[in-house]
């Protein structure tokens, strides 16, 4: 940790910029930097875009940019919420899905798909809406079950999360077995691979992202204090219960919103915080903004891989994050075994 030459913040920022560029340029049809520069210049100067540039323009503004934005929002939300949950529960295995966001979202999506909506705009939006409601309802149920009076003991929360998660998971499996038509799309969604096109999803996620991550970014000091446990945190003057409610509420909303359009993407909320902790130590005032940058960069790179490894077919990005993420995670843990980095 000592003798650090480059501030980790700059590393994360450069990584994010590189990942953004990569995500905009690479795909089944690759654009060159030159094409991009010309399209952007033409748009900025308001001149007519002609001939060969029109294709590049469509790819850039209707496909790549919105997708890049959605993936970046999702990745940063998952990583920041992962960091917050790990800090809140003082548990290195906590991630945004812990208290039912993922299983609830999955159940919501599968119910919506099994109702056989038509393939029009409304039908497309019905799935994210249903998964969002599923996620929020499930989290509410977990919190209600775990509550004792006005307090929310961590152990109760984790146990209620496990119970409700497996229940909704079983419901999802049951519905999938019974359903006939839309099975494929539902499974792709559950694997984290149904990023919808266009700017609509980006605009739909953005308010939740802004509110959720905006509030979580201010929680660094509070999470630092909470690392000493609830009792000491309160003796140090932190209103522990209120802080916990706020963190759970806003991160569940942000995660649910992101997940509803991109499907369930595992490991981002787990790997990114741990990687950053090794890089920068246990101070949550640093970890939170770094998770925002790092989570976006990580998921963007995974999404690029998902687009190119089997072109023209696209893999669900959740498969990439798990395939690449799990071994990487194990490698990191083995390397860091001697470091007292967990806090």
């Amino acid at each position: 940790m000592k003798g650090r030459i480059v501030h980790p913040f700059w590393i994360a920022l450069v990584a994010l910029l590189a990942a953004l560029l990569l995500s905009v340029l690479v795909g089944s049809v690759s654009l060159s930097l030159m094409d991009m520069a010309r399209v952007v210049a033409a748009r900025l100067s308001g001149t007519e875009i002609g001939g060969d540039l029109r294709v590049a323009d469509t790819i850039l503004f209707s496909l790549r940019l919105p997708r890049t934005a959605l993936v970046a929002l999702t990745g940063s939300a998952l990583a920041v919420c992962g960091t917050s949950y790990q800090g809140l529960f003082r548990n290195p295995l906590a991630d945004p899905y812990l208290i039912g966001v993922a299983s609830g979202a999955g159940l919501g999506a599968v119910i919506a798909l099994s109702l056989r909506w038509r393939y029009d705009a409304l039908g497309l939006l019905a799935v994210p809406l249903a998964s969002f409601s599923g996620a929020v309802l499930t989290v509410l149920m977990v919190v209600m079950l775990a509550r004792v009076g006005r307090s929310l003991p961590v152990t109760n929360l984790l146990l209620a999360g496990v119970a409700v998660n497996s229940f909704t998971g079983a419901m999802t499996s049951f519905l999938l077995l019974r359903s006939t038509g839309e099975l494929r799309r539902a499974i792709a969604w559950l694997m984290g691979g149904s990023a919808m096109g266009g700017w609509q999803p980006v605009l739909a996620v953005l308010p939740y992202w802004l509110i959720g991550l905006g509030i979580l970014m201010t929680m660094g000091h509070a999470l630092n204090v909470m690392q000493f446990g609830d009792e000491q945190a309160q003796q140090l003057g932190l209103p522990v219960e209120a802080t916990r409610w706020v963190i759970i509420a806003v991160s569940s909303l942000a995660t649910a919103a992101a997940v509803s359009f991109t499907g369930i993407i595992g490991f981002v909320g787990l790997i990114v915080p741990h990687l950053l902790r090794l890089l920068t130590g246990g101070d949550y005032r640093r970890l939170l903004p770094l998770s925002l940058l790092g989570g976006a960069a990580f998921l963007l790179v995974a999404d690029v891989l998902a687009r190119v490894v089997m072109t023209p077919q696209e893999l669900p990005v959740g498969i990439i994050t798990a395939l690449a993420g799990a071994p990487f995670f194990i490698w990191i843990l083995r390397r860091s075994r001697t470091l007292p980095y967990w806090s």
Partner: protein
């Protein structure tokens, strides 16, 4: 002056502390002793606001502490817990500076005055040289001194220490208690909003000989009730101790004649 009167506290409906009353003056060290399960730790948790009282009151200079917000209360009472399960990835400096939390805004930014206070507390507890070290690398004695420093920067009129010497070697037990006496007798320079003044210290201790050596007064608890409260020689009497702890005990004088010495009698 901390005044606890008729305090009854419990988990659920079963009271663990029953009608506990005592007074603790500024600059005084009160040792709380008693067998396991007597309610010593519960007393610390009740005074620091973790457990709300069912009856009775806790006042400092007439001010009711139970009506204060969590933040205001942390400006009145600081706790030195046992050094267990501390965040391994924090530096010693971070641990101590978090003691300023009740005075900081939501973002926890330290002012230069805060930093000076943290430095002074770390000097006073002999932890200044550890500032950049990670908690995971420190020994039990060093961690316990860090927690004392953290309580010092809280700059409270009352300090509670919950078995601070448990798990420490004898030299660290004595080192720690010497520092507690120092900070009670010569208080830290204050927090910028008040003049320096001597905190009142309540220390839960198991070792009765350390009690005899360091305490100004002693509170003996049995079964959640106050059995006796007074000076060291008032409370450390063979009959009372033997009854409270359930083993025959003898009280002798130390070889230099200054302190009582408590010795269990073998049957």
């Amino acid at each position: 002056m901390l005044e606890v009167s008729h305090l009854t506290v419990g988990y659920g409906s079963k009271p663990v502390l029953k009608d506990v009353s005592f007074r603790l003056a500024d600059g005084e060290i009160l040792a709380v002793i008693g067998p396991n399960g007597a309610g010593k730790s519960t007393l610390v948790r009740a005074l620091s606001g973790i457990l709300p009282p069912q009856c009775g009151s806790i006042r400092y200079n007439g001010r009711d502490l139970c009506s204060l917000s969590v933040q205001e209360r942390a400006r009145m009472i600081a706790v030195v817990p046992q050094a267990r399960n501390l965040p391994a990835g924090f530096t010693a400096w971070q641990v101590v500076s978090l003691g300023r939390t009740p005075y900081l805004n939501w973002f926890g930014q330290l002012s230069p005055a805060d930093e000076e206070l943290v430095r002074e507390a770390m000097r006073r507890t002999d932890t200044a040289h550890l500032a950049e070290r990670l908690v995971g690398e420190l020994s039990g004695g060093e961690l316990q001194r860090l927690l004392l420093a953290r309580a010092l920067v809280q700059a409270t009129p009352v300090m509670l220490l919950d078995e601070p010497t448990t798990h420490l070697d004898l030299q660290y037990q004595i080192g720690l208690l010497n520092r507690v006496v120092e900070v009670v007798r010569q208080p830290i320079s204050g927090n910028g909003n008040g003049k320096p003044h001597s905190p009142a210290a309540l220390v839960v201790l198991h070792d009765l000989n350390l009690v005899a050596r360091y305490a100004d007064r002693v509170l003996l608890m049995v079964d959640g009730c106050v059995r006796s409260c007074g000076t060291v020689s008032d409370v450390l009497r063979p009959a009372m101790l033997s009854e409270a702890f359930g083993v025959p005990l003898e009280v002798m004088r130390s070889p230099n004649g200054k302190y009582p010495l408590v010795v269990p009698l073998m049957a």
